[in-house]
């Protein structure tokens, strides 16, 4: 495989990383797992002048769970670590499940969730779950940090809110309130190693009565140029009583807000149908999880 030459840096600390990034803002690419980046470089879709490998930056590794703050996942954490983490399984089981659907075991041991999110693919496995969780991103650069709701992160097809010199440092998934659950549903042609035709993450929070919707979030994938929330559906569903009609309505509204295209994997029409069924099923599963079923 013929690769265009590039410079390679492997910083040991955030300070070194931020210095490299600010100096080579326009021409550098971050290498975390490489499962997307190196494919693009080999196919000559990307030709970065410099690749900065964050594999040795210990300050980007780890998962912490805090009852008040929620779950924090640092950007260098491997997908397989997220998949198997006891904290993730306890506080964000749908994320653990979504992580387990990404690529193959080999890929999950290399790839990071930050890579999955920053790559900006509309069908990325973890993005809908993070949208449903209302995850907050910590974005850093030399001399500063900012926080951004994940729903504001993707701007257009494979374009993110990262400015030159910035990098994604951490994900924070706010602690789930009582009576709330997140579920993930997806569909590819085969059972694994897929680019999903559709995927969706849903958040359902109930009032104390356990039958009135207090809050919902719907994160949709592969039905538009970016993963995004079905905000109109969310507004309409709030306050409804949870029953079969609610589940069906949720599906219909999500499908109505989906804007898919025809491509090699599926037609737009089929994707809308799938979005309706998957959203309905995901809400039904979330309801069952809240009720402890």
């Amino acid at each position: 495989m013929h690769l265009e030459p590039f410079e390679y840096e492997k910083p040991n600390s955030l300070v070194e990383l931020e210095a490299l990034l600010s100096k080579h803002a326009d021409e550098a690419r971050l290498l975390a797992g490489g499962t997307d980046l190196l494919v693009l470089v080999k196919e000559k879709i990307l030709s970065p002048k410099m690749i900065i490998d964050i594999g040795d930056v210990a300050a980007l590794q780890g998962i912490t769970a805090d009852p008040a703050k929620g779950l924090t996942i640092l950007a260098g954490t491997k997908v397989s670590t997220i998949e198997h983490s006891a904290e993730v399984k306890e506080f964000a089981p749908a994320l653990s499940f979504a992580a387990a659907q990404l690529g193959s075991s080999q890929v999950r041991h290399m790839a990071t969730m930050a890579g999955n999110v920053c790559h900006g693919s509309p069908s990325a496995e973890t993005s809908p779950v993070l949208l449903a969780h209302g995850a907050v991103l910590t974005i850093a650069k030399a001399g500063g940090e900012r926080e951004l709701p994940i729903s504001d992160f993707w701007l257009a097809y494979r374009k993110t809110a990262l400015a030159p010199g910035e990098y994604l440092k951490a994900f924070t998934l706010p602690a789930l309130p009582k009576n709330a659950a997140v579920e993930y549903a997806f569909k590819g042609l085969r059972g694994a190693m897929e680019i999903d035709m559709v995927n969706v993450g849903v958040y359902l929070e109930l009032e104390e009565d356990l039958e009135t919707v207090k809050e919902v979030r719907i994160g949709m994938g592969a039905v538009g140029p970016i993963p995004y929330r079905a905000v109109k559906a969310e507004a309409e569903l709030k306050g409804m009583k949870v029953d079969d009609a609610f589940f069906a309505k949720a599906g219909e509204l999500a499908a109505a807000e989906a804007t898919p295209i025809d491509d090699v994997r599926a037609t737009a029409d089929y994707r809308k149908k799938l979005m309706s069924v998957l959203t309905r099923r995901a809400f039904s599963a979330a309801f069952a999880r809240i009720k402890g079923e």
Binding site: M1, H2, K187, L189, R190, G191, A192, M193, I195, T267
Partner: protein, 763 residues
């Protein structure tokens, strides 16, 4: 089965090479690194159909590190697996006929340099109309892909008729006529084509290649390189699967040889996965118009078949496969009236060719679907209809094909009882269903692909008290386990352990002649040759042992490493002592064996095709769950009962059958090469071309029915191509049972299921 007692045959044996393969230590062609070896890369066409106006390689030749550049006109000799009708050259000469066809090649000291050099080759094209479907290719006024072909873009066409077809239809109680279409699929063997070529100072060519057919590669190298066969030596290292796709010379082999001769250095040419899809030779998409009739009791009255085959750009195995689709109409059921019309069409696509179960899978899909439909319309169980029509233990078809041994009825009976088919069919809730289908395949062929009457397989066994048993046979182990099968047979014959047999195979100089691994021929053909050689050795040794033991040779037998009297236990001696005595008295001890299949033919066009020494049979029941909201089809349970004669290694048989089922399941549900209208492949990679993963594989139960073909070596028959035949119709029949929709095209994707359900709902 008979009362035969074997010590090696019929036991589960782990292949000797398996640990090496699992550890990555086994040597494949790509692992070969010779001193001064160059890396070859292939410049490929940017058009699917165009005239080549000019090729300028000067800039590539000037690039430092480039040692040779070759173009098509340097090897103008056409070749093909069917030598009467060669259509291909090592690289395109005046014309390209598919997008990605080789037009030039470079050998350089480094693969990166070779790739860079490809970008420096300038090719000027004059585009021609592109045909990516058969109907466009044979439309009035279409430009012929091959100007020297007599019938425009119809590569071949043939008719056969047996019995009184029209009269039989008139007298039928029920007749169905339908069109079925199969899709454009690739084998997806793990190892891409890989070849290394080296010329020595004597001008002799040595080639190491991942081929299934060292002999046919040998003949084609001789033709294209214009060299006597004796100056060419082909060796096959470990091969990572072939399934037919490596069943003739591929461009990389010829190009490696051409580059090596020009550069005077060894050259390796390996394919990327995309190039594997371009070399292709996958299954022919066929549009089949099929008509079938039955009488009141469900007996088949007649079959009328019209198949339009999409052949892609070149001839390859095409004419053979066309006639196999004809032959496959006659079995495994008794059919008295059969009409066949087949056409193979040239299109601007990577060439179709032999793929596991060639010629059978497409018509089997149509016929087994149709029989299911006929039975249900008659109010009869498809099992009953199939059992009624199934051939008996011996059968002769109206086309003159002799089946010397069949346990097909047993396959049907046992798969139905194992799977609980009769309790489930038509009785499961909406969305769940079971489907039954049967099939068969040849265990070898009666003819070579060129006119020749020599034995199809030969073997040489050498016994030496120092080096042990050396079994030499040109049969080629491509991962199917032929080395193991032959060693097990040899071990059983000589009364020695399997581990003690050393096999040298897949080599045109170091092993005696064999046609190669295709048509499920090796177990019966090469196995017979090995058995004959082993029998001759025993004949030579026993008289020596008889003298030593003071006993008649015809009262002696071999077993457990000893030679012993069949009457008196105490009369015995170690096998190797007898070998030692033989060598001391007579010199080296070796014997050869050979196998020539029975010759049969029919007095009609294609009459040689379909005859085989013996045939394997199989029956399948698939059980599916259809998600009626998403359209997803999940195969949940799968049962197979097969007649492969005596399984030599039951563990390997199970692997062959499971592999067949999974391969066909991929074609039924997921796999399809997609193309743009201008002939570019849209998914030539394993991410977008979807073979099943472990998560998709159902719970599979296979079973070998009691069977022993008295005329086969150790009663064995094929197990690697028959079991792929019924899988697609079994799954599609199960889908019908689940949701009442009959699919006539593959793959049955969730989207198609949902659309069909919606259409059904509107009815």
């Amino acid at each position: 089965m008979s009362d035969r007692k074997f010590s090696v045959i019929g036991t589960d044996q782990v292949r000797k090479e398996a640990p090496d393969k699992a550890r990555g230590e086994a040597i494949y062609a790509d692992d070969i690194r010779l001193p001064r070896m160059l890396h070859g890369r292939i410049k490929r066409s940017d058009y699917a159909h165009a005239r080549i106006i000019s090729i300028d390689t000067s800039a590539a030749e000037a690039l430092p590190g480039v040692k040779a550049v070759v173009v098509g006109s340097e090897a103008p000799q056409k070749y093909g697996i069917v030598p009467q009708a060669p259509t291909e050259t090592a690289m395109a000469i005046d014309k390209v006929r598919y997008h990605g066809e080789p037009v030039a090649a470079v050998a350089a000291t480094d693969p990166d340099i070779a790739e860079k050099a490809l970008d420096l080759i300038e090719v000027e094209y004059e585009p021609l109309p592109v045909y990516v479907n058969t109907h466009d290719a044979i439309a009035e006024g279409a430009v012929a892909l091959h100007e020297d072909n007599k019938y425009g873009n119809i590569a071949y066409q043939a008719r056969q008729e047996f019995g009184e077809v029209d009269k039989a239809f008139e007298e039928s109680h029920l007749v169905i006529e339908k069109t079925y279409k199969t899709s454009y699929v690739n084998h997806v063997f793990m190892e891409p084509h890989s070849a290394v070529a080296r010329f020595d100072d004597n001008g002799d060519l040595r080639m190491w290649s991942s081929t299934q057919v060292p002999h046919y590669l040998h003949t084609m190298l001789s033709k294209v390189m214009d060299m006597p066969m004796a100056k060419i030596h082909v060796t096959v290292p470990n091969v990572g699967g072939g399934f037919g796709g490596k069943g003739e010379a591929s461009n990389n082999e010829l190009i490696a040889a051409l580059l090596s001769r020009k550069a005077r250095r060894p050259v390796k040419v390996i394919y990327s996965r995309r190039e594997v899809f371009l070399q292709h030779r996958g299954r022919h998409p066929i549009e089949m118009k099929v008509k079938m009739g039955v009488d009141k009791e469900g007996y088949i009255t007649a079959i009328d078949y019209d198949g339009l085959m999409d052949g892609g750009a070149y001839g390859a195995w095409g004419i053979i496969i066309l006639f196999y689709t004809a032959a496959m109409l006659h079995l495994p059921y008794k059919v008295k009236n059969v009409r066949f019309f087949g056409r193979r069409i040239y299109t601007n696509k990577p060439t179709c060719g032999p793929m596991r179960g060639l010629g059978g899978v497409q018509p089997r899909f149509a016929l087994e679907s149709m029989m299911d439909e006929l039975a249900i319309k008659l109010g009869m169980s498809p099992y009953e209809l199939k059992l009624k029509n199934a051939i008996d233990k011996k059968h002769v078809t109206v086309s003159g094909v002799h089946v010397r041994h069949s346990e097909y009825k047993k396959c049907l009976e046992e798969v139905v009882s194992e799977s609980g088919y009769l309790d489930k069919h038509g009785k499961l809730p909406f969305g769940k269903g079971v489907g039954l289908a049967g099939g068969y395949y040849i265990s070898g062929t009666a003819y070579t692909l060129y006119m020749s009457y020599k034995p199809h397989s030969t073997a040489l066994i050498r016994l030496d008290s120092e080096s042990g048993v050396t079994l030499q046979c040109g049969a080629t182990d491509i991962g199917q386990g032929s080395n193991m099968v032959l060693a097990m047979m040899c071990a059983e014959k000589l009364g020695l352990p399997y581990e003690s047999i050393h096999v040298i195979s897949g080599d045109t100089k170091n092993a005696p002649f064999d046609l190669g691994s295709f048509a499920s021929r090796v177990t019966v053909a090469a196995g017979s040759a090995v058995c004959e050689a082993a029998d001759k050795l025993i004949e030579q040794i026993l008289p020596i042992a008889g003298v030593a033991l003071g006993c008649r040779a015809d009262q002696l037998a071999v077993g457990n490493g000893e030679i012993y009297s069949i009457y008196e236990k105490e009369i015995r001696m170690p096998f190797w002592d007898a070998v030692e005595k033989y060598i001391a008295a007579h010199g080296p001890l070796s014997a050869t064996g050979s196998y020539t299949p029975p010759r049969r033919t029919g007095d009609f066009k294609g009459g040689n095709v379909g005859h085989s020494p013996t045939y394997g049979f199989t029956a399948h029941v698939a059980e599916v769950d259809v998600d009626t909201e998403t359209g997803e089809v999940k195969v949940v349970n799968y049962n197979e009962a097969g007649d492969c004669g005596q399984p030599i290694n039951p563990l390997s048989v199970e692997g062959q059958v499971e592999g067949s089922i999974v391969m066909a399941m991929g074609q039924a549900l997921y796999e399809e090469i997609k193309m743009t209208p201008d002939g570019r492949l849209m998914n030539p990679n394993l991410h977008d071309y979807k073979v099943p993963t472990m998560r998709d594989i159902p719970n599979i139960k296979t079973l070998a029915v009691e069977s022993y073909d008295e005329d086969s070596p150790f009663g064995a028959k094929e197990a690697g191509e028959g079991p792929i035949q019924p899988t697609i119709p079994a799954i599609l029949n199960a889908i019908y049972d689940a949701i009442g929709v009959r699919f006539t095209e593959m793959p049955v994707t969730p989207e198609k299921v949902l659309a069909a359900l919606a259409a059904k709902g509107q009815e």
